[in-house]
């Protein structure tokens, strides 16, 4: 629907890295047997991406698929496509023990752009950001909330958190990216 809005409606901040809310993003939680062919097929159909291995995120023509746990994937697609993807995947996995739910609106997504994007997140997350490369997905926390992050490219980190704490996450990233806070100026 046209009246759908993301938590911060694309708010952004220019610090020594740029922090911007990504707007509406389609996200689907798929729980099931990740070794099953049916799941791989459903994932491929939804995103065009191959099954990610442990700690990975893959990309296809229609979206990305992130490995969240041994029995959970995160499908990232266009926001408007999410309900249809849920319906199709649920149907195709009807014979398997699987759960497919739309969580698009339960999330907020941020991009941190700039050469120091890893550094900005490293002020908040105990995970080793220096090893993060495109294709990797890490779940950890930023300050007091859970978060997942991956790299779109070497200078763009994407961070996913819950929608209810979208403002807190944005304020954290803003604070971390504030000019003057460069760890390696």
């Amino acid at each position: 629907m046209s009246n759908a809005v993301s938590a911060l409606q694309g708010e952004s901040f220019d610090g020594y890295c740029k922090v911007e809310e990504a707007g509406l993003v389609g996200m689907i939680t798929l729980r099931g047997d990740l070794a099953s062919k049916g799941v791989a097929k459903a994932v491929k159909a939804a995103t065009g991406a191959a099954m990610p291995g442990q700690g990975e995120i893959t990309q296809g023509a229609k979206g990305r698929v992130g490995w969240m746990s041994p029995d959970e994937l995160l499908l990232i697609v266009d926001h408007g496509d999410a309900p249809k993807v849920v319906e199709t995947a649920t149907k195709s996995l009807a014979k398997e023990n699987a759960l497919v739910v739309n969580v698009s609106d339960a999330r907020a997504v941020y991009r941190v752009k700039g050469a120091a994007c890893r550094e900005v997140i490293a002020k908040l997350a105990p995970a080793d950001m220096s090893v993060m490369q495109p294709g990797m997905l890490r779940r950890s926390r930023i300050a007091q909330i859970p978060a997942a992050f991956y790299m779109e490219d070497d200078e763009t980190a994407v961070l996913v958190c819950f929608r209810s704490v979208a403002q807190y996450a944005f304020d954290l990233l803003k604070d971390a990216a504030k000019p003057g806070g460069e760890v390696n100026p």
Partner: protein
Amino acid sequence: MSTRLAQGGRLIDRSKPKNFTFNGKRMKGYEGDTLAAALLGEDQMLMGRSFKYHRPRGVVASGAEEPNALVNLGQGERFEPNQRVTTTELFDGLTCTSQNHWPSLEFDVGVVNNYAARFLPAGFYYKTFMAPAAAWKHVFEPVIRKSAGLGQVPTEADADRYEHYYHHTDVVIIGGGVAGLASALAAGRSGAKVLVMEQTHHWGGRAPVDGGEIDGQSVDAWIDATLAELSAMENVTLRTRMMGSGVYDHGYVLGYERVADHTPGDGRPRHRLWRIRTKQIVTATGAIERPLSFAGNDIPGVMLASAVRDYAVNWGVSIGDRTVVVTNNDDGYRTALTLKEAGLDVPVVLDARSEATGPLAEAARAAGIRVEPGRAIAKVHGGKRVTGVSICLQAGEGSALEEIKCDAVAMSGGWSPVVHMWSHCGGKLIWDEAQAHFRPDPNRAPTSHDGEAFVVTAGTASGAMSLAATLEDAYAAGKAAAKAAGGKAVRKAGPKADAESEQPMAPVWIMPQGASIKKRMKMWLDYQNDVKVSDVQLAAREGYESVEHTKRYTTLGMATDQGKLSNINGLAVLSDALDQEIPTTGTTTFRPPYTPISFGAIAGEARHEIFQPIRRTPMHQWHEDAGAYMEPVGHWRRPYCYAKPGETNEQAVHREVLNTRENLGLLDASTLGKLIVKGPDAGKFMDMMYTNMMSNLAVGKCRYGLMCSENGFLSDDGVVARIDEDTWLCHTTSGGADRIHAWMEEWLQTEWWDWKVYVANVTEQLAQVAVVGPNARKVLEKLGGMDVSKETLPFMQWKDGTIGGFDARVYRISFSGELSYEIAVPASQGRAFWDALLEAGEEFGVMPYGTECLHIMRAEKGFIMIGDETDGTVIPQDLGLNWAISKKKEDFLGKRAQQRSHMTDPNRWKLVGLETLDGSVLPDGAYAVGEGNNVHGQRNMIGRVTSTYYSPTLKKGIAMGLVLHGPDRMGEVISFPTVDGSNTVVKARICDPVFYDKDGEKQNV
């Protein structure tokens, strides 16, 4: 007097003067000065007063170990007390004031304590301020607080910002002296990822002050070359102004970076706390010189010999024109020689050893300095400043042989390695007889998660006391750490220095060794806390044997310097008094932080709006714009009520209740937990999680359910909807969603892992609105899209459809007793849906209502609330909820516990309604009293209020409570004494907890 020399000062830039004030007096220093150097350069030797006796105190040291020279630094929102001048970098505009005196630093009334010193021995407080207890609050504590204590408490909020930084590396090197740099060379050359931190703003530590050559160059030149090599290595990170604060389990290190202490207000974070995870740690933390214990060793002008040398070489500051050096080792001679070279007078070197034959002593003699072996200081003369010393035999009792005029005394009692970082995580120490110090035992290092050692010491921190030994030890330490962290082997040789020969030192713990009690009462061990040799000896006589107990009894080493100077001397005195070896006495425990770190650094970013996460619903902004009074529910903020202009919150709540009962109310119920449980075994699982039978709930229907812990206590409740054959949707309480989600996952993962069930938390995916009141159906019908009639959507059923164009799931459930629909839409459209309902509801008298209205309406209906009627000790049976506990099920979580004797006790308090005889509102949490007293002489209690409100619907106070045999005592009147001081008793009649629409006719229409 102390003064700035015309020349010298390797760390200062004389072309860049910096202005500052001390106690309002304008002073000048140079870029590169510490505040201590700048104050001494302006002849400000007196810097504060001691804690207990208010004795005059000057600086004794030149680094982090300084116990005396603490000041209030800055003003207003940048005011901070207890800042060590020796570790404070000078900057233009710095202001500071001295501490712990009244009315002034020069004239302090508190110094009367000094004359009463013999009445204030160790343990004075413990012995004196015993009883009566009330005197503590009104007399003792206020008096002690006023007379003892350091700086003032800041009164304004801190203007600065702070942050954390997580860093992962292979090797952390703590200390950037020549040892740290040599270790860094080795580790860097191995290819390992290395972080080197140095607490000051300059590299090289104190080696350049001591002189010598490394690889044929001056120490300074070698440091520059080494820094150049390290800077060129991509795998090496060099940080100054960063102190190793603590070493913790599994290679966790805290680095305290003082980013902008010297550039306040420049927009950078003031401090950055590095939270480092490393494979290996090299502690190149150097050593600290020990004072000597002689009478009057605390008089301003008595300083560590190394500090006197540092001030001369590093900052071009002379402590006095005539400096007597007193030592028990060769290093003290370096100070004598340095001062002589600077053109200052050294009237005598008193060497406590019976002979002074080392090369350094010879050099001193050659420079024309008088050297007196076997001599000691009998007494230092002076009050606020040294004026001279009396000399005596070290072997004797202190008869003065000679008096020498001087204005400074440089003392050297030998060196103790800084073992803090080694010891924080369990590294053990050994006593080194030759050096008379504890040093790390390399065979008993702290171990990490893999069971292997993860800390190695380097240089003087290992007890390697010469430059040559330091470099060799440190390079080897760097190599070893890098290898253990997975670096490649290093073949390149490390830096070298020529070996020097030194005459062995001699331990001297009391000077002279036969000093009388009168002298021992003037020998300071802990300068800041005023602990003297006589205090430790008294503690030993009074039976204190453990060094930890003695520390607390005497307060030795408990000051802000944590005994960096006093520790070894103190425990040597204790050992002597107990007639045992020093290693038998042992040391006190070394705990982080190495020196105090700021609260700001610990808090990091967690201040102001990001102090903690605030959870917001999609409609949150509307509530704020409407002026709602928000209350915390977990991390959520929910509208308590929406007061209109001129309305009190209470009036608003009453209006909201009446309007909802008469017209139409809207509640933002998005915070309610929503969990999807799906799978072939989901029914079986649901039956375990809930006390009710959930597997037989028909698709399309809803059922209220209870969840208990394995203890049997009621933990959560909510309405469950059956979505399809193998899917259930569970509503939890607002605060309970994450907890219950985790609870379900825990059972599925750790107990019933073969059950085919998946759970997903969709709480935040959906915005949920309760549309409540007699007009609820009308507004939905107006918006249109789906049939919400009684026939199509009866009470306790749900349906998917569209409402006003929104994809919605509509539940016919009621927590208010009114006709009620709870409608879930995607969160992204929550605000739009809320707006649409308000607009469409206008003609039906719509008003939003808050949580307090919700509470009152549920209480009028006798519905329980988790957290009000329950407190973690209440079982469903206590609340008359037996109807919701399945008798058919063999098992559910909590069932076995509810069969325990205490749970089936007929004397458990049970839920009833309470109505006051006068219609008033019972006080929240009030207790009902019964007959007689308990064993403590208190009135016996027979019940308590769990919920109490004024009911605008019924126009009187209503309450629920847990009462002994309550349900059997309907109509009985019980007494609730008030505790507001009015000494009144509220009488209430026990009644049915359902006060309103007992038959549910209003909700079922």
